[in-house]
């Protein structure tokens, strides 16, 4: 898939995100917008995946979202890559929907393999799934995305220790380093300090990448993939800007979990070309 095509899809996904969050007047636009380019790069270019979804995912790469609150970007990406029809995005967070506030398997939404929302659990799940792949002699990779605030949860570091000790080298983790969490900047709330040094000290291969530029995201993911299967799990520290693509949502934690009103929606959509047709 060409870079220009991926950029077009990303614009539509951003429209979907702000429209979904506006439609139910709840949800998390900031992190979703910040990670849009990553999701589109992942599903458009990086993952070997099958939109004819199977829970076991044998013979394909797997992706897990640990910071489940950015569900809008994942749902839109899955829909735009053929897992289910885009019109279903209109049901987000509404009663009787398969698109729960946080991702879930209970309603059998194609593309989701584990519930997430309560933070800090995805790296453990991804590590287990990666070990199952090894037992099954399936040489595909397992990807997982976490938030940077999320890694304040202790379980993340249990999993970090485990994955290195057990040489789970078919695992590529990405942290969305946007420096923001609900109450403010991560450096003010609970300093993360030197993330690269932390993960290296735990025994991971660490790369750093830019997360709001399609070419650079793909470069980062390709580099991460090239480092896989060499005896260590791989950590991709990806710098993003929360709210990226909508000028008044950028550079602040304030749009972490707030929905735009009608006027703000119109202002946001004016900045995001409709490339694939709104749902």
């Amino acid at each position: 898939m060409e870079i220009a095509t991926l950029k077009n899809i990303a614009s539509q996904v951003r429209r979907d995100i702000v429209r979904m969050v506006h439609g139910c007047q709840s949800g998390h636009p900031g992190g979703s917008l910040g990670c849009t380019d990553f999701f589109v790069a992942l599903y458009g270019k990086q993952l070997k995946h099958n939109p004819k979804f199977s829970m076991d995912g044998k013979g394909e790469d797997l992706f897990f979202l640990s910071n489940g609150h950015i569900s809008p970007v994942w749902y839109s990406t899955l829909a735009r890559f053929g897992y289910f029809e885009a019109k279903e995005l209109a049901t987000f967070r509404k009663i009787n929907s398969r698109l729960q506030g946080h991702p879930a398997t209970e309603e059998h939404l194609e593309g989701i393999r584990i519930a997430s929302g309560s933070l800090g659990q995805g790296l453990s799940v991804a590590s287990g799934a990666a070990q199952a792949k090894k037992l099954n002699q399936d040489d595909h990779l397992v990807y997982v995305l976490m938030g940077d605030g999320e890694i304040q949860e202790g379980q993340v570091w249990e999993a970090a220790m485990y994955a290195a000790h057990h040489k789970i080298d078919n695992l590529v983790a990405t942290i969305d380093v946007n420096g923001q969490q609900i109450d403010g900047a991560t450096e003010e709330i609970m300093s993360l300090r030197d993330l690269g040094a932390k993960w290296r000290a735990f025994g991971w291969e660490v790369i750093e990448s830019e997360g709001n530029d399609m070419e650079k995201i793909l470069e980062g993911l390709q580099k991460a993939k090239s480092l896989a299967k060499k005896g260590k799990p791989v950590m991709n520290l990806m710098k993003t800007e929360m709210g990226f693509g909508v000028d008044f949502m950028m550079g602040s934690h304030k749009w972490h979990g707030v929905a735009p009103n009608d006027e703000q929606l119109a202002k946001a959509l004016a900045q995001l070309p409709e490339t694939l047709g709104d749902y």
């Binding site: 829970m55 076991d56 995912g57 044998k58 797997l62 897990f64 879930a104 398997t105 209970e106 393999r113 584990i114 519930a115 997430s116 929302g117 309560s118 800090g120 659990q121 995805g122 790296l123 453990s124 799940v125 991804a126 590590s127 287990g128 799934a129 990666a130 070990q131 199952a132 792949k133 037992l135 099954n136 399936d138 202790g154 379980q155 249990e158 999993a159 220790m161 485990y162 000790h165 057990h166």
Partner: protein, 317 residues
């Protein structure tokens, strides 16, 4: 009263260890995870025979629950092993989100449950686990009574594609159920046919109920005894059938009076067949250090206590 002669005594956790090896030989998808308690959980034989299917997690139970959930994606059937306290209270949110809500085929296997853990004291003697896990949608909750039943249950749950909590313990107790039994999940075992009082028991209290039944028989009281090894889903038919016959019920479990088997049975009866109920259980307190026998006596979980409750409940008919 039917007699239950026995020739040996064993711990239920050893039944788990033996069952795990046997089911792993039958089913190549069975894998095991342990949080630094391989010896205590009797998982050494599995580790020796299937080293590539055994995962040492270290002292990190939250991670273990997530790993197990992940391993089901790809068709594995993970059995996690640690003490009951660290299998439930410590990791409740991980079990709730990554296993129960996600509908994952994980077998949470919990040893050293209840007071009979003994000298380690209340930090380790969890008495709330049945209640916590019973409240989670999709979970099946099993509490076995002897070595053979634990072994049979360990084997049976592999072919049952749902999350299971399997609770067993540390003390050495008579082996009184058949070695060749077929374990039927959700189906009560009718220990004794009786007419005067129903005793609904689980886990280590089943042997106490048998002793109580023998003593009651000498007093001319005929006890209908049901082993409810599967606390969820509850065998409603068996319990209601027995209560209809005897018109009074005593429950017995190594657990808090709140949230466990007694509450499950009382709720069932209140909704369907209001019947007097007395409960043998820990009375809303923590345990303490001591020998298992001393603790069961002090906290009221013996055959003698069961008999007291039987006499009391009969007066309420």
């Amino acid at each position: 009263m039917k007699s239950y002669p026995y020739t040996e005594k064993k711990d239920t956790r050893s039944g788990f260890g033996a069952g795990l090896v046997e089911v792993a030989r039958q089913n190549p998808n069975v894998v095991a995870l342990c949080a630094d308690l391989t010896g205590s959980l009797k998982m050494d034989a599995f580790k020796k025979e299937f080293p590539e299917r055994f995962f040492q997690v270290g002292i990190a139970e939250a991670n273990m629950m997530g790993l197990a959930a992940g391993m089901t994606i790809g068709g594995k059937i993970p059995y996690t092993g640690t003490f009951a306290n660290f299998s439930t209270g410590r990791v409740y949110d991980q079990i709730r989100q990554s296993i129960a809500y996600s509908g994952k085929n994980v077998k949470v296997c919990a040893s050293h449950a209840g007071l009979t853990l003994g000298e380690d004291g209340a930090t380790h003697q969890i008495l709330e686990d049945l209640g916590m896990i019973r409240m989670l949608p999709h979970f099946t909750v099993i509490n076995t009574c002897d070595y053979n039943q634990t072994k049979a249950a360990t084997i049976a749950i592999a072919d049952y594609p749902h999350p299971v909590y399997l609770r067993f313990g540390r003390p050495v107790l008579p082996v009184f159920t058949p070695a060749d039994q077929k374990f039927e999940i959700g189906k009560a075992w009718h220990v004794n046919e009786g007419t005067d009082v129903t005793i609904v028991c689980t886990g280590h209290l089943v042997w106490e109920a048998i002793k109580a039944g023998e003593m009651l028989a000498q007093q001319g009281i005929s006890a209908d005894i049901l082993d409810i090894h599967t606390i969820k889903p509850l065998d409603q038919t068996a319990i209601l059938h027995s209560a209809r016959k005897t018109r009074c019920v005593v429950t017995a479990e190594e657990h808090q009076i709140n949230g466990g088997l007694g509450d499950a049975v009382a709720g069932l009866l209140a909704r369907n067949l209001p019947t007097p109920v007395e409960m043998v259980a820990v009375q809303d307190s923590f345990g303490e250090s001591g020998t298992p026998e001393q603790l069961m006596e002090k906290y009221g979980l013996t055959a003698r206590h069961l008999i007291e409750k039987v006499l009391a409940v009969q007066k309420r008919k």
